[in-house]
């Protein structure tokens, strides 16, 4: 079930209503049923897979708990990791690696007989396998006690607000909250609903409006020059941010309505002044996961520069693969890692340059320059993300550096309605302007959050008339933009 579907409009209030009416002892069971229904509606087969994953990790956790030493726990950790990674590899990476080997063997003129599999990628598999692997590792390390209640553990794996696209929660945060009786608190519930509304706004008013523009470019990449490619890349970054952070907002808001606090997943990434800072503000739960379970165990940045660079590259390589089984994502991950490693490598040079800049370094304009630079690097790297194959990425990458004057002239002259092609990327002027207004609203809200604090707190100081006009206006906009075709969240495919 999609958050942006009509079904969810019925599902959520019914689930919340029943949840609060039910006696506390039945709530976990009801939430579990609701979560299975939410997940299984798309494909019942996916449920079977998540049940297997749940049972293996539950048993492995309990067995590890029984052992006093790490050595004793290790076999059960290995079982848990192998089964989770096995499921992930089979469903997500098997065909990618198999096809790659087939191409390699073909190149070497060696017969290759292992067939590809016709399998559907289960929705959210990368999210829940990472979440349960994190749990198993924490139990193995003795950081947490294993959960002995199968129901609560199953709910931890399948809790519907965050099951499909995160945030990837640590069991130490989520599990204890299921065991606390929650009441209907006006402020908490309305704050949750406001966050959900903001999420829907980002999804339908911004992300879904950019989606056809990106498709317009990627369907015929040869037809575009530098200006359009850069514009498309910049818009794509807004699309993926508004799409994914919207999911997180709806998840966090939805959980908040039910009294569960999920972790923050995005922190205004476009205010970052470097790519490494951006990655600390983007998909925070995944980055934390990598930090805790890959980067730190490898030695982090404490074992010398070279090892630190290696560890960064490993994290971004895995991050690329986590996002998708294709060379595009792999190279995208590597390039992100490379930019960060180069920034670390030339820290001295950068500080010397900063000294020469003097007081300008502290000016607003310099900060803005750094932000724009970071955003543009991220946007250009995004070409690998939004194109379906390396060929399209290569075409757009090359186009980025050509035909700028033609594009600018085309926009100015609008000959043969060229503006619609170059600037509006297939939209008409009204829709394009409406989109820009949406992005400006988003940026204004980010500005307030970054420099003035919580928007909800600030709004609380305004008059009732102002607040209600705003809430009603946003709700009407969401209704106006909820066209007949629900565009799935991009991160569902991961």
């Amino acid at each position: 079930m999609l958050f942006n579907s009509i079904e969810f409009l019925y599902f959520f209030p019914i689930v919340v209503g029943i949840y609060f009416i039910l006696p506390f002892r039945f709530r976990w069971f009801f939430l579990l049923l609701a979560s299975y229904f939410f997940y299984g509606l798309a494909n019942g087969w996916f449920l079977f897979l998540i049940l297997i994953s749940t049972l293996i990790d539950y048993i492995a956790g309990i067995k590890m708990d029984e052992k006093l030493t790490k050595k004793g726990r290790r076999p059960f950790l290995i079982i848990s990791l192998i089964s989770n990674l096995g499921i992930l590899c089979l469903f997500k990476y098997y065909n990618f690696f198999n096809d790659s080997f087939a191409s390699l063997f073909e190149l070497l003129n060696i017969p290759y007989l292992i067939p590809s599999l016709s399998i559907i990628l289960p929705v959210g598999i990368s999210f829940y396998t990472f979440q349960t692997m994190g749990y198993s590792i924490d139990v193995y390390k003795g950081k947490i006690k294993a959960e002995h209640h199968l129901g609560y553990f199953a709910l931890y794996v399948t809790y519907f607000p965050q099951l499909v696209a995160g945030p990837i929660e640590k069991s130490s945060n989520l599990l204890p909250q299921f065991k606390v009786k929650q009441f209907v608190e006006y402020k908490r519930v309305t704050d949750g609903l406001k966050l959900m509304t903001w999420g829907f706004f980002k999804k339908v008013v911004i992300a879904d409006q950019i989606s056809p523009m990106i498709k317009y470019v990627t369907d015929n990449p040869e037809q575009f020059n530098g200006f359009s490619v850069l514009l498309c890349s910049c818009l794509f970054i807004y699309q993926i941010y508004c799409d994914f952070s919207a999911y997180s907002d709806i998840a966090i808001g939805g959980a908040q309505v039910m009294g569960v606090r999920l972790m923050e997943n995005f922190r205004r990434p476009f205010f970052a002044k470097s790519l490494s800072e951006l990655w600390n503000r983007w998909h925070i739960s995944l980055i934390n996961w990598f930090q805790e379970y890959i980067f730190s165990p490898l030695g982090g940045s404490k074992k010398g520069r070279r090892k630190a660079y290696r560890n960064v590259m490993i994290v971004f390589l895995v991050s690329g693969l986590w996002h998708g089984a294709s060379y595009n994502f792999l190279i995208w991950g590597i390039l992100n890692g490379l930019v960060i490693v180069l920034t670390l490598r030339f820290t001295k040079l950068k500080s010397e340059a900063n000294k020469k800049l003097g007081s300008f370094r502290k000016s607003v304009w310099y900060r803005r320059f750094l932000r724009v630079k970071t955003y543009l690097i991220f946007a250009v790297l995004g070409i690998l993300f939004y194109t379906s194959d390396l060929y399209a990425a290569q075409v757009l990458g090359k186009s980025l550096f050509k035909g700028w004057s033609n594009d600018i002239m085309g926009i100015i002259s609008n000959e043969g309605n060229s503006r619609a092609h170059i600037l509006y990327l297939g939209h008409d002027s009204i829709r394009f302007i409406a989109l820009l207004i949406g992005i400006m609203v988003l940026e204004y809200v980010h500005y307030i959050q970054e420099y003035k604090g919580s928007v909800r707190e600030i709004l609380a100081t305004k008059s009732v008339f102002f607040r209600w006009t705003l809430y009603i206006g946003i709700t009407l906009l969401i209704m106006a933009y909820s066209f007949d075709q629900e565009i799935p969240f991009i991160y569902f495919q991961f």
């Binding site: 006006y186 309305t190 829709r431 709700t475 066209f483």
Partner: protein, 305 residues
């Protein structure tokens, strides 16, 4: 808890109050923006013709409905052909018309070899229906053929009309759409094409015959045709399947296939081997104004008792 419920109820009530005028404004704007007003005329009761033509551009441009009306004995005629539409869409047009009134006769123009197969040039033209979604019969068809939800569309006018929002705004700034070759209909719903044959592929071997192959036929298109046939029978409408002349190689066996699908009770008006001269054709698939006029005359001879 009580405070929360009261405030949510109040919020929903205000939304409900504001929703209707906005939806109504969008509806007004989008209908005014359309050049092709045939569905609007139908809904307003201004089209109640005895003979109605349904089909794709081949029917929109291929049957001069004014000429047909002139040749029919005291019967009126109207063309509801839509460019680039497929049989699923024709079924929707049939349903919309018959929910409003029951014509005596319906001529369904069948696109020969493309009728039951996927063709990217013939699709379900949601875009032709959305501007008129305020009308219940149109809403019903859109709901059946898209992911638009019925219940929210009944509750919220804004949701119902939201697909039309940007075009309605365009009406404010740009006014009515300029007519084009797919919308410039005359008072009979017909668009004549020029008599020049410069679009014609003259290299087509007219003596060649091609056997119709049912391979790649889509079940959904066949079901639509059967639905139209069954509904016509139930309502007592005289349904005719029409095959228009084209400037292509002859298609053999298609009539047999049609009989196989719809049975022998539905008459097939087969003009596919008529009007073979180039002067009747706009391109290989469409008749020009001369051709449309001549076909109208041929049809009227069949319909007049």
């Amino acid at each position: 808890m009580k405070q929360l419920i009261v405030k949510i109820a109040l919020f929903v009530f205000i939304i409900f109050l504001v929703d209707k005028p906005i939806g109504f404004s969008i509806s007004k704007g989008i209908i005014n923006r359309q050049y092709d007003q045939r569905i609007e005329l139908l809904m307003k009761g201004k089209v109640r013709s005895d003979v109605v033509i349904i089909g794709s551009s081949r029917s929109l441009n291929g049957i001069d409905t004014g000429e047909l009306e002139k040749n029919l004995n005291n019967q009126t005629a109207y063309n509801f052909g839509f460019s680039g539409s497929n049989l699923n869409f024709h079924e929707s047009i049939f349903n919309i018309i018959t929910q409003v009134y029951q014509p005596k006769t319906i001529l369904l123009v069948v696109d020969d070899d493309d009728a039951f197969k996927v063709n990217e040039k013939a699709i379900y033209r949601k875009d032709k229906l959305f501007p008129f979604i305020q009308y219940e019969p149109v809403l019903n068809e859109i709901v059946k053929n898209s992911s638009k939800s019925y219940l929210p569309s009944k509750v919220s006018w804004l949701y119902r009309e939201n697909q039309n929002m940007f075009e309605a705004i365009n009406w404010v700034f740009k006014g009515r759409l300029e007519p084009d070759e797919t919308t410039n209909v005359n008072e009979f719903g017909f668009i004549p094409l020029s008599n020049e044959d410069k679009h014609l592929n003259k290299l087509v071997d007219r003596n060649l015959s091609i056997d119709y192959s049912p391979q790649k036929e889509q079940k959904t298109f066949i079901e639509s045709l059967i639905a139209i046939v069954n509904e016509s029978e139930t309502m007592g409408i005289d349904l005719y399947l029409v095959r228009l002349p084209s400037y292509k190689a002859k298609l053999v066996g298609f009539n047999d296939r049609l009989v196989e699908i719809v049975g022998k009770n539905v008459p097939i008006l087969d003009f596919s081997n008529e009007l073979q001269d180039r002067k009747y054709h706009f391109d290989n698939g469409h008749l020009n104004a001369n051709g449309a006029k001549s076909v109208a005359s041929l049809i009227s001879k069949k319909l007049n008792p």
